[in-house]
Amino acid sequence: MKNKQDIQDAVDKTMNSLDGLQRAMPRPFLFTRIKARLVREEKSFWSRALDFIGRPAVAMAAVVIAVIINATVFFELQSEPAQNAQDEEQVFASEYNLSTNTIYDASIDQ
């Protein structure tokens, strides 16, 4: 097989070895198996959805989003002046008449 001409002949014959090839055929009842696969895929919609949610990338993204929302809310609240909270308390108390009456208020009423 070391002869150059022999090698060339072998290469040519191999290159032409697919001549006259017939199509390969799948096993019988392919349609039945495809139908079963379609039904299986329809049924597994929820399991596919759960798989999607359970993917590490999706789970990590959800955690990151939750952390960002928490951090945003936390820093927003921190940056608000404390005065505002006090004002709101006073407004709420006066609106619902929750102010503590003192002895002096009582004497004025009398």
């Binding site: 097989m1 072998a10 290159m15 697919l18 199509r23 390969a24 392919l30 349609f31």
Partner: protein, 189 residues
């Protein structure tokens, strides 16, 4: 049934039409898949995937190309995806074996014998398939469609959405590569 009517019925979800589509094109899809994957089980799996996708996305099929061209495109895309997944798994197993993660030995791909090859050419065809497996994806696709499916260069260019001259160039390079590898094989043999 006329192809156009068949497609219309398939778009309406008609089961009989779907059955006819599968029965008409199953050999074409399977033969293309087995040519690229060189494994009967994988080809069967891909053929099923192709028809499931065709059924689910038939509404996106616009009669700009032939239905068979559309099916060829799905088959090639699915087959190449399957092949990439398999190679990734093999690479991962190899890396694992390097670190001794498990004691599984990596099994060499067995020789592939296409069931439609003439008996006299069986051994030579097996050698050729081994060489085809080494070709880059686009050369492998063009060569498979031409040799196994008997498509003309013009038809291949429609399937691969490329120009006729590109297909000619792909085929030329594919043949040169194959001849070079086969010569090396016979020199060492």
């Amino acid at each position: 049934m006329d192809e156009q009517i068949l497609i219309e019925k398939l778009k309406q979800g008609d089961e009989a039409a779907f059955r006819q589509v599968v029965e008409t094109w199953q050999n074409m899809v399977y033969n293309t898949a087995i040519g690229i994957l060189q494994n009967a089980e994988d080809a069967e799996d891909v053929a099923q995937e192709v028809f499931v996708q065709a059924f689910e996305s038939i509404k996106t099929f616009k009669a700009e190309s032939k239905f068979s061209t559309w099916l060829y495109r799905i088959t090639i895309s699915k087959s190449l995806d399957h092949l990439r997944r398999k190679k990734r798994k093999k690479r991962f197993a190899y890396v694992q074996s390097l670190f001794g993660a498990d004691n599984q030995t990596i099994i060499e791909k067995p020789d592939f014998h296409h069931p439609g090859v003439i008996l006299d050419n069986k051994e030579r065809a097996s050698v050729l398939f081994k060489a085809i497996d080494r070709l880059p994806e686009n050369q492998k696709t063009a060569f498979t469609l031409h040799k196994l499916e008997g498509l003309s260069y013009q038809e291949i260019s429609e399937v691969m959405k490329t120009t006729l001259s590109s297909v000619e160039s792909l085929m030329h390079r594919a043949k040169n590569n194959l001849k070079k590898w086969l010569a090396e094989h016979y020199e060492s043999g």
